[in-house]
């Protein structure tokens, strides 16, 4: 991920020059966590306005592509034009742009100025993603509503009178249907859903020369603003991760049938976390999931796509957004003709992260768009102490307060991640940081 460093620094400098607010961030980009932090993760982008919806589904399927198949309930029969294969780079850009981030601040010399909140830098990390679909099946008495080859995928749109037929048909067609899927299929069928089935066309794939599976996109019109997750829980061993990026015109999106919770943010944590931000974020997320009794949907990012502060990656261009389904903006060429910058407008991004299983998420996720345009980002702060040797009353006070601050940071970290506080103190090299002062005897008793 280091390649992001240069453009990010450049963009930060740009921000510095451009905006007083952004000038508060005067540091440098430190790095970010890997995108593969979470196992069994899928990424979905939903662009929606009125009832027009474009869904982009990505996965990091690692096995033999011959084995790959996905079955997704969809509200309508899709024409070939409504199906598209997307560019994984755009999705990656979106993930980077909205990733949880780490920011660095440097304390100033207390002898030279009033002790302002130090500020400084940013870095970001990313949280991330992974696979997507599965669901093989078998069946009979099934109507193949449509059949297309799009890019490297063979697509079928199926409907059926009853779920057993669908299940048998899918099995006989070489899809491995998880045991227990029949009930869920039946429920979807009764709700008049169709099934979008995709598998890889090996010939097309070798012709196109792609080695990775590219994201599949579908566009349709439906009042249903939801994401079907039930099929994914049928045969899952353990919880699955899902990242949902929603692009809307009006404002933040939240789930209406599960609690949507903001992750803790703007917390100061020990400096050594810089080296293990990925671990930090993964454990923080796990801890928050536990706190919500494994039932929450977590908000990681909510921001107007026109800007960011600090930026983990530049905002997406109008073209990139269009490729993800943002249809409500003027095309870039029209804007340029009118003398506008070809920049995204009227696009609000909500990034949700959910860890789900059948026990805690019995229902599909249902969303609503709110008129809330307040920005939110999962941002964590490293604050470097001033290490100068100047002597003055302010410096003495500052040094005395440092110990408390380190202790507070250690507790924050333990609280956020569930890590052992003694190990945190050890990793912080607490004794030397606090000038050799030992921690109180009772602070060693309990681990957090």
């Amino acid at each position: 991920m280091r390649y992001v460093i240069v453009p990010t620094v450049a963009f930060l400098i740009g921000l510095f020059l451009w905006s007083a607010e952004a000038s508060a961030f005067c540091g440098f980009y430190v790095g970010k966590a890997d995108t593969k932090l979470f196992n069994k993760a899928s990424e979905v982008v939903i662009a929606r306005h009125d009832s027009k919806t474009v869904i982009t589904m990505a996965n990091d399927f690692q096995g033999d592509v011959k084995e790959f198949a996905m079955v997704v309930p969809v509200p309508t029969v899709l024409e070939k034009d409504q199906i598209h294969v997307g560019d994984p780079a755009v999705l990656k850009h979106l993930a980077d742009y909205s990733a949880p981030r780490l920011v660095e601040y440097f304390d100033p010399n207390p002898c030279q100025m009033n002790y302002p909140e130090s500020r400084a830098m940013d870095m970001m990390a990313k949280a991330v993603e992974a696979p997507a679909r599965q669901e093989p099946n078998t069946a009979l008495g099934v109507i193949v509503e449509a059949q297309y080859t799009v890019g490297e995928y063979d697509i079928l749109i199926l409907s059926a009178k009853e779920s057993h037929g669908l299940e048998t048909w899918l099995s006989e067609s070489g899809y491995k249907i998880p045991h227990g899927a029949s009930k869920v299929l039946r429920s979807y069928l009764k709700q008049n859903m169709k099934f979008f089935v995709a598998k890889v066309n090996l010939v097309e794939q070798s012709k196109l020369g792609f080695t990775h599976l590219r994201p599949l996109q579908i566009a349709f019109e439906s009042p249903k603003f939801m994401l079907p997750i039930r099929l994914g829980t049928v045969n899952a061993d353990g919880a699955q991760e899902l990242f949902i990026y929603v692009l809307t015109k009006q404002g933040r999106v939240e789930t209406t049938n599960y609690r949507t919770i903001r992750l803790p943010e703007a917390q100061e944590i020990p400096l050594y976390v810089k080296e293990k931000f990925g671990d930090f974020y993964r454990d923080l997320f796990t801890q928050q999931v536990k706190r919500e009794s494994e039932r929450g949907v977590f908000l990681e990012y909510a921001w107007d796509m026109n800007w960011c502060d600090p930026c983990a990656a530049n905002p997406l261009s109008a073209e990139e957004l269009r490729s993800l389904g943002v249809f409500w903006q003027d095309s870039p060429s029209i804007k340029q003709r009118r003398g506008f910058m070809p920049q995204a407008q009227n696009v609000f991004l909500t990034r949700l992260h959910v860890r789900y299983d059948a026990a805690h998420f019995p229902e599909d996720l249902v969303f609503q768009e709110t008129s809330d345009r307040n920005n939110f980002q999962a941002r964590y702060i490293l604050r470097h102490a001033w290490t100068g040797t100047d002597d003055c009353p302010a410096a003495t006070t500052y040094r005395q307060q440092l110990r408390e601050r380190y202790e507070r940071e250690a507790h924050t970290l333990a609280n956020l991640t569930g890590w052992n506080i003694n190990e945190i103190r050890k990793a912080m090299n607490f004794a030397s940081l606090t000038g050799g002062e030992d921690i109180k005897w009772y602070q060693r008793l309990w681990t957090n």
Partner: protein
């Protein structure tokens, strides 16, 4: 919520029988819990503005319409419910909601009853205008069970005379959700999860049960509850919109005068809770009374 007794000034003996006191207590506790434990997206200022404007409008209307006594309780219930349900980033919007809620009680009237539940009307206006939103999923199990117990408890404690409409609605609504799940072959955890919303409880125990906007007779109230449950489910599963019960109530409220005509009963009085089992002549005589009733 949003009812108030205009003609009978409660004396000490009837004061504690007023079910609104229990409602105010449970709504306040829930609001505090939501604010401090569930991180509801609502600022202290929004609460202050909502409660303040509601009382102000209630007071102004009391003076303007020359009502015998200023009674803050119903306006307080309406505004507490607004705080629990309405989300907005703008204080003027919160004030506007309180204005619509309390103002509508005095303005939109038919046959000496206000037509719409005040909170319901304010929420629907703000939802349709896009000025605010409701977060129906923000409750969590602990709050939900706690609140459910508090609500049921208050029914018992206060022997609320119009609990029938609440129970009828919950029976129809929950029953139909379970029936739908059985028809779809879904596990019953799904309907159980669907009813786990604080918004549904506030709706069932505080909005639909508002004695001042429900039909006067028991049979009328049961029919009313069924109509609302059906409309709510249609909004939820036919139109795929959240907050079905709110839309159901607003759509069915105009039918109350019709239901009152078909199934007459006694008009409700907060200080003398009744179930409406009164001879047919009573509502006629009430409706002929010249004095205005703004409750």
């Amino acid at each position: 919520m949003g009812q108030y007794n205009d003609i009978c000034q409660p004396d000490k003996s009837t004061f504690w029988r007023d079910p609104r006191l229990y409602q105010i207590a449970s709504l306040s506790i829930l609001l505090l819990y939501g604010l401090f434990w569930l991180d509801f997206d609502i600022s202290i200022w929004q609460i202050v503005v909502t409660l303040g404007v509601a009382q102000l409008i209630q007071y102004a209307a009391t003076r303007y319409f020359n009502l015998p006594v200023f009674d803050p309780k119903s306006a307080l219930i309406s505004s507490l419910s607004l705080c629990l349900l309405l989300r907005t980033n703008d204080l003027p919007v919160a004030a506007f909601a309180a204005l619509i809620a309390i103002g509508s009680k005095f303005v939109i009237r038919w046959n000496n009853k206000h037509v719409f539940n005040p909170t319901n009307l304010a929420l629907v206006v703000l939802l349709s205008s896009g000025l605010g939103w409701i977060s129906p999923g923000q409750w969590g199990q602990v709050a939900w069970f706690g609140f459910l117990i508090a609500c049921l408890g208050s029914l018992v404690v206060t022997r609320a005379a119009r609990a029938d409409v609440t129970l009828a609605f919950l029976t129809f609504y929950v029953g139909l959700l379970f029936a739908r799940a059985l028809w779809l072959g879904d596990p019953l955890t799904i309907p159980l999860h669907q009813i786990e919303s604080g918004a549904l409880l506030i709706f069932a125990f505080f909005m639909i049960s508002d004695p001042k906007t429900t039909p006067d007779s028991r049979i009328g109230r049961n029919v009313y509850a069924l109509l609302i449950a059906l409309t709510a489910l249609y909004v939820q599963f036919g139109l795929f919109k959240p907050n079905g019960p709110l839309w159901g109530l607003i759509a069915c409220s105009p039918f109350v005068p019709l239901l009152d005509r078909m199934f007459p009963g006694a008009r409700y009085d907060w200080s003398k809770p009744t179930t409406g089992h009164v001879s047919v002549s009573v509502p006629l005589s009430l409706s002929l009374q010249p004095q205005r009733r703004f409750s």
